[in-house]
């Protein structure tokens, strides 16, 4: 197979830079695999290693510092047959640390070559995540304070199924890279090299010294058996196939008439766990069955099972513009903390508003008509109070009626839940 090197753009690294050697080695590996340029994308990071893509006659994606793995992930998911090789320096590995961990956990079939030369070459030799504490670099004494990262160890513990650490100078590097690319899953190769332009000016580093240093690093080579598992993209396709198609939005036919001809605003003031939002939704669905426009605005705390929960509904024969409530026809006071959240409202109300007051909830003074409901003595459980209140309204023919409510329950619930909710509504007896 032909070389995939770009004959128009020969490498321009400093003399003696390991990156140049690795450029040729990667080309050799791709040649041996018989890959054509359009079957490969080189995704490069920032820094001297970021020049990699330009030296190859392949697809190329050169992006922002540390983010190369993110583009590679999108490319590979969209084009599973593409060979995706990511080149990144020790700098990119540091700034993109979260992406490296995630890629190890994900196990998408990408190959990451970390061109590790122990410093930021391009910007003047500052220390990186792999700079030894004893090195003299462009960051003054700061590298003495931070422990260098063992990339292989990190990649292994994060779940990468193929991890290796090599010298840029070793003769069989092309074979090693080929094996990593051929591996069906995420492979990380930490390649140690020299940066004569910056690092090795003050820090003696030769192929021999690299070999010695590598022999001291515990790094088993290649497949990490305990991490071998499904490749992400194939696994994704497999699981996605079993997902049921999403249902289209439910169309609710108009089957009944609303009890009032004009815009009605309703406030449910309750607590988390009282199924306030569900009751609000049911009221809106009831509105739809009477051909009305509806909106539902909710307010609740971020904590799931604590705090006030408030739902504001509007049902109107006209299109609804403003979705806030300033003149409610009905307020259902289901809990004290719910009422507290809207307590300033009660002073403005007049007899046009009906307040359904669940037993035990104190109301601020108000001129609204108040109707007390002792849901507890009816034996209705607290998480059904909001639903029961809808039953009360339906029986009063206020905002909704029984036809509307029952058709909404049939839309919202099925099976046992539906039976129970219908029973609950029937159970409600009010004296008019």
């Amino acid at each position: 197979m032909d070389s995939l090197l770009n004959d128009q753009r020969p490498p321009v690294f400093c003399p003696g830079c390991s990156h140049e050697r690795i450029t040729h080695t990667l080309d050799k590996a791709l040649q041996k695999m018989g890959r054509g340029g359009n079957q490969v994308v080189i995704v490069s990071d920032i820094g001297c290693s970021g020049l990699f893509d330009t030296f190859f006659h392949t697809h190329a994606f050169h992006g922002l510092h540390g983010r190369a793995l993110t583009y590679a992930t999108g490319l590979k998911m969209a084009q599973p047959d593409l060979t995706v090789v990511v080149t990144m320096g020790d700098g990119g590995q540091g700034i993109g640390g979260a992406h490296l961990l995630a890629a190890c956990r994900r196990n998408l079939n990408l190959t990451l070559l970390i061109l590790n030369n122990f410093n930021f070459g391009m910007t003047g030799g500052q220390f990186s995540a792999t700079t030894p504490t004893a090195a003299q670099v462009g960051s003054g004494f700061l590298n003495q304070l931070e422990r260098p990262l063992n990339i292989c160890q990190v990649a292994r513990s994060a779940g990468a199924p193929y991890v290796a650490c090599y010298s840029a100078f070793q003769q069989d590097l092309a074979d090693k890279i080929q094996r990593a690319i051929e591996f069906e899953g995420f492979s990380v190769i930490d390649i140690w090299g020299v940066c004569p332009g910056r690092y090795s000016k003050k820090n003696r580093l030769t192929p021999k010294l690299i070999d010695e240093a590598l022999s001291e690093v515990p790094c088993q080579e290649g497949i990490v058996s305990e991490n071998v598992r499904h490749e992400y993209s194939q696994h994704y396709q497999k699981l996605a196939k079993d997902q049921k198609p999403a249902s289209p939005p439910l169309h609710i036919e108009t089957t009944c008439d609303p009890p009032q001809p004009d815009r009605q605003e309703v406030l449910l003031l309750g607590s988390a766990g009282q199924r306030i939002i569900t009751a609000g939704e049911i009221m809106c669905l009831a509105g739809l069955s009477a051909g009305l426009h509806t909106t539902q605005k909710n307010e609740y705390n971020i904590t799931v099972l604590r705090g006030p929960s408030i739902s504001e509904m509007i049902l109107s024969p006209e299109e609804i513009d403003f979705t806030g409530i300033d003149d409610p026809s009905v307020i259902v006071a289901l809990s004290q903390e719910g009422v507290e959240r809207r307590k300033e409202l009660f002073a403005h109300l007049d007899t046009g508003t009906t307040v359904i007051q669940v037993d035990g909830v104190q109301l601020p003074s108000t001129r609204a008509r108040v109707r007390a409901m002792d849901l507890k003595s009816w034996g209705i459980r607290k998480n059904n109070w909001a639903l029961a209140a809808l039953g009360v309204l339906a029986k009063m023919n206020l905002v909704i009626n029984l036809d509307m409510l029952k058709s909404a329950l049939k839309v919202r619930f099925t099976g046992k839940n539906l039976e129970e909710s219908l029973l609950l509504v029937d159970q409600i007896k009010i004296s008019l």
Binding site: N38, G74, P249, L250, L285, D321
Partner: protein, 373 residues
């Protein structure tokens, strides 16, 4: 007639799928999370891809990769996530990568309030990229817009090869609303244009008279180069100042010269009125309620609802203010877009009401403001 009940975020997800979106990546954040939830329900059964990134930077990075592989992509977040998207927004602008970005705005600054609405990112969306290049920002008013404008957003992203933002708001995103889906007037799908056949491909070359380069996917037969560096039309780094200027000027020109093609708005004029309200987003609904009430009572005021905010639809705004003596601008922030309008209309008496407390601007507040003038 049959209506459905849906929240704004579901409407955006459904609009995206209808526009041909098959790749979504996101990171959970209130109040945008339900877009992710909905995409997760909708896309995988259609053979589409949904990913959860390790952070927002990864989510949008996945999208940029997939978009360059030829897919229609979307991501969704809120203010804190938009902040993290910033470097990739710049990338998408400078390297002409189509992407739809949903910003479900919540009250800022910073972490702010996750469940309170605001329109505080309007200028951030425009100016939050290094280089200060223009972007397209569409602002939905209601659930219908969530579907319609999202579809337009995809079409614009594909057509102009740029990021397109939907500036939503918690108050639209998480409000459920009735909608007659079948009655919507929806746009047809537009696809990226291909380069002219039979010629060597240069990824950033435009054909004579065009302002957007033809697209080929990474992974196809023809080699494609993408780069975040300052590039020439061949996709390699260049130092040729002439070529740099040509490309960067084109990035600005391709959007700003075309704004009249995609200036979406509702102009509600009133006979004999000399007062115009300008509003966008959820605030436009309160303004519309006031507009209806005033005109029913024989007090003519006009209303301009802007749905394309960036690039500035100068002609739309200038036309609407003709014959107006007074213009009232409303915003759910302390005054951002109003300065753009000010710049456009130096001779008009401009009034402003802004509110940033996590609550909707009410019709009563607007009426109060009108009475003061």
């Amino acid at each position: 007639m049959a209506r459905s009940l849906m929240e704004g975020n579901e409407a955006i997800a459904r609009g995206a799928v209808a526009a041909g979106c098959r790749f979504f990546a996101g990171y959970p954040i209130t109040p945008a999370t339900t877009i992710y939830n909905n995409m997760l329900n909708l896309l995988p059964p259609l053979g589409g891809i949904v990913l959860q990134g390790e952070d927002e930077i990864a989510s949008i990075g996945f999208c940029l990769g997939a978009s360059m592989a030829g897919m229609k992509v979307m991501t969704a977040t809120s203010g804190p996530g938009i902040s993290l998207y910033s470097e990739h927004i710049s990338f998408a602008i400078g390297s002409e990568i189509p992407i739809v970005i949903i910003d479900v705005q919540r009250l800022g600054p910073s972490t702010g309030s996750a469940t309170r609405g605001a329109d505080g990112d309007i200028n951030f969306l425009r100016w939050g990229n290094s280089g200060g290049m223009p972007v397209i920002v569409l602002a939905p008013v209601d659930i219908k817009d969530c579907i319609r404008l999202t579809m337009h957003a995809f079409n614009l992203a594909e057509k102009f090869r740029c990021p397109v933002f939907i500036a939503s708001n918690k108050e639209i995103a998480m409000t459920r609303e009735s909608i007659d889906v079948d009655a919507l007037d929806l746009p047809d799908q537009i696809e990226r244009c291909s380069p002219p056949a039979g010629k060597p491909y240069f990824p950033f070359q435009v054909t004579e008279g065009q302002h957007v380069p033809g697209f080929l996917p990474i992974g196809g037969k023809v080699l494609v180069r993408q780069t975040s560096s300052t590039h020439g039309q061949n996709g390699y780094i260049t130092t040729d100042h002439g070529e740099i200027a040509r490309i960067l000027n084109r990035l600005q020109f391709k959007l700003e010269s075309a704004i009249d093609q995609f200036s979406f708005y509702d102009l509600l004029p009133a006979q004999g009125s000399d007062t115009l309200i300008i509003a966008y987003g959820v605030t436009a609904r309160a303004a519309k309620a006031v507009y209806k009430e005033f005109n029913q009572h024989g007090v003519p005021i006009s209303l301009l609802i802007l749905k394309t905010l960036w690039p500035i639809p100068a002609n739309t705004i200038r036309k609407a203010v003709r014959k107006m003596k007074r213009v009232l601008v409303l915003e759910m922030n302390l005054g951002q877009y109003v300065h753009e309008i000010e710049r456009l209309l130096p001779d008009i008496s401009l009034d402003f009401y802004g509110q940033m407390n996590g609550q909707l601007i009410t019709p009563a507040k607007i009426k109060e403001r009108l009475a003061i003038g």
